[in-house]
């Protein structure tokens, strides 16, 4: 990849921004998730997909950069065909164009393969200065795709990013650590995995929704992407899923009743019996 801004007088630049998003089952309905006792597969058909929460932050971060500096936002996703509706929503937020990588041959892909496919789609469509992803997904939550995509593209990459500011040819960003933060400057192109702290994603307005209908949305099949066949899908994935199960965490749930002060006394009794000195 190469830096591709066009300087339009002074510091104003046109940024080419890529954002990757993932449709995930709505976490409000996780209690509907069941494991099919026969196929041992997760049945989540009844649950509607939504855009992964942090991916909305990624889109918002891209829109903010565009609003300030000008530019274009291109969305990428690897998901089944029905993700078109999720992509339209992101276009309604303010993104300009979207590419969906959808193919049966991509089923069973782990993070290494997913990031490989996204990298191929990104490389096929243009030169991007800034690439932004949600730091992690709500369903799998591995937080691995941003780092691995950065590796495939061979550009500097950072995760847990909580602020982004553009300077000439560079981005000043802050990442969150367990006990504070790290502020750094990175030369573009670069990739960022962003967390919730970075912004409050906007909700598309009616105008946005109407405009989104006419924005370009392209579906890539595996054969469109110059992929190494041995590197995709379940076959190409180093990690494979074996048995899946629901953890049994049920306990006896014995009721403590009575007047408030009696309940408090009983709770303290339980605590003391466990060997905790008060």
């Amino acid at each position: 990849m190469r830096v591709s801004y066009s300087k339009i007088g002074g510091l104003r630049m046109t940024l080419n921004i890529a954002v990757c998003i993932k449709p995930v089952p709505d976490s409000r309905y996780y209690n509907k998730i069941i494991i099919d006792p026969k196929t041992k597969c997760v049945n989540r058909d009844e649950i509607e997909t939504v855009i992964n929460a942090m991916d909305k932050n990624a889109v918002e971060a891209a829109i903010k950069l565009k609003e300030k500096n000008g530019g274009k936002i291109t969305i990428f996703s690897m998901a089944p065909d029905n993700a078109v509706k999720n992509l339209r929503k992101v276009l309604a937020m303010g993104a300009d164009e979207a590419y969906l990588c959808s193919d049966k041959a991509l089923g069973g892909s782990d993070t290494l393969v997913t990031s490989y496919v996204l990298a191929k789609a990104i490389q096929k469509t243009g030169n991007y200065d800034v690439i932004i992803l949600g730091n992690q997904s709500e369903d799998g939550g591995t937080a691995q795709v941003p780092s691995q995509l950065g590796e495939w593209l061979n550009i500097p990459h950072f995760v847990n990013v909580k602020s982004l500011e553009l300077e000439v040819n560079k981005i000043v960003a802050e990442t969150k650590t367990e006990n504070g933060s790290i502020k750094f400057k990175v030369r573009l192109p670069a990739l960022f995995g962003v967390i919730k702290d970075i912004n409050e994603p906007r909700i598309p307005n009616v105008m946005g929704v109407l405009k989104a209908k006419n924005k370009p949305l392209t579906i890539f099949r595996a054969t469109d992407l110059d992929l190494d066949e041995g590197k995709i899908g379940l076959k190409g994935s180093p990690t494979q899923v074996g048995e899946i199960f629901s953890p049994d965490m049920k306990r006896k749930s014995q009721k403590i009743e009575g007047a408030i002060d009696e309940i408090a006394e009983k709770i303290i009794e339980v605590i003391k019996r466990a060997g905790i000195g008060l």
Partner: protein, 337 residues
């Protein structure tokens, strides 16, 4: 695949110490060694500037070999440098299993390294199993812990995995342990001057460490407001325990201590007593408390899912219970001391 042998634990250093999470992984690596027929050697990797000072610690907690990699460039954490070093070490020593903490650092350099080596990584595992044919199985949660899945990495090496703090037990410290020490040194290139670290901010704040507390008082959305949250903190303090929280309590800004969030995306805890108040019981949270000794739950909603995983159930208003517990605790202290 052939020629990969041994278990490598990446020992993360933070604020001048090897983090507990890494020591727990050393303990787990020793247990895996016992389960695997060929009894692979357990190595600890120390990366940074002046890491010799940590040798005693990792040796005492069971590392049989310690590999150090020192370089001035490693003084400040940079993902490109650190993942390059981890990659080099793996290429040289060829371990079959590589473990890192599921910390912000481990979750960054782990997947980078897996990509560089073209292998698989299982993120925030909750358990490891070894099958009769010596297959290494990594158990990972999905959908916020609602589902657990076995992950295997049959055709690629090493098999990489990260684990959250508090899930595995560290070995007993033994000052007589003696490890083989190997100092490795090489160039580091990374992205060079494309990246410039400008400032590192560390907030020094004293909190009771959740994983070391016998009693944890956990609060959730049902606490209702910041004033009641303060009461909850006072109660935890009076009981000599620590405060844990759920995601909504952070989102509502009742507490700023993200490191006290309990659950699959936070920390897993195993206190003797877990007393939760106003916690609904989302699977994300309950997965993080399942190893607690006794779980006492207070919620005014009789049908709150939290009660399914509780030993004791109190259907009451949280604030009232906090007040009453404060009163009882106060009386006990006054009259019995």
């Amino acid at each position: 695949m052939d020629g990969y042998r041994g278990i490598l634990v990446y020992c993360e250093i933070k604020s001048g110490k090897v983090i507990e999470n890494s020591l727990e992984l050393l303990g787990e690596a020793l247990r895996l060694k016992e389960k695997l027929k060929h009894r692979p050697e357990v190595s600890a990797l120390l990366i940074g500037e002046n890491v010799q000072q940590y040798i005693d610690t990792v040796q005492g907690y069971g590392a049989e070999k310690i590999i150090t990699f020192e370089n001035d460039k490693l003084k400040l954490y940079r993902p490109d440098y650190y993942s390059e070093v981890l990659t080099k070490i793996i290429q040289k020593y060829k371990p079959e299993i590589v473990l890192t903490g599921a910390t912000l650092q481990g979750e960054e350099i782990g997947p980078c390294t897996a990509k560089k080596l073209n292998t698989g990584m299982a993120a925030h595992c909750v358990e490891f199993k070894v099958l009769s044919d010596d297959t290494f199985v990594q158990v990972v949660p999905a959908f916020g812990g609602k589902v657990l899945g076995d992950i295997i990495c049959p055709n690629f090496r090493p098999q990489m995995a990260s684990v959250k703090a508090g899930l595995m037990k560290k070995a007993e410290y033994n000052k007589n342990n003696k490890a083989v020490i190997e100092n490795y040194c090489d160039e580091i290139v990374g992205f060079g001057d494309k990246i410039e670290i400008m400032e590192i901010t560390e907030t020094s704040r004293e909190r009771k460490i959740l994983n070391k507390s016998d009693l944890i008082v956990g609060g959730g959305f049902g606490i209702g407001n910041k004033n009641v949250w303060r009461k909850l903190e006072t109660l935890a303090n009076a009981l000599g325990g620590a405060v844990g929280c759920t995601r909504p309590a952070l989102d509502e800004k009742w507490t700023e201590f993200e490191e006290t969030m309990i659950g699959t995306s936070g920390v897993a805890v195993s206190p003797k007593i877990y007393l939760d108040i106003g916690v609904s019981g989302a699977t994300q949270h309950t997965c993080g408390i399942k190893d607690s000794g006794i779980i006492i739950s207070v919620n005014k909603d009789e049908n709150a899912p939290i009660f399914e995983v509780s030993d004791y159930k109190v259907v009451e208003d949280g604030e009232k219970i906090i007040d009453a517990l404060m009163l009882v605790t106060f009386q006990k202290c006054t009259f019995e001391d």
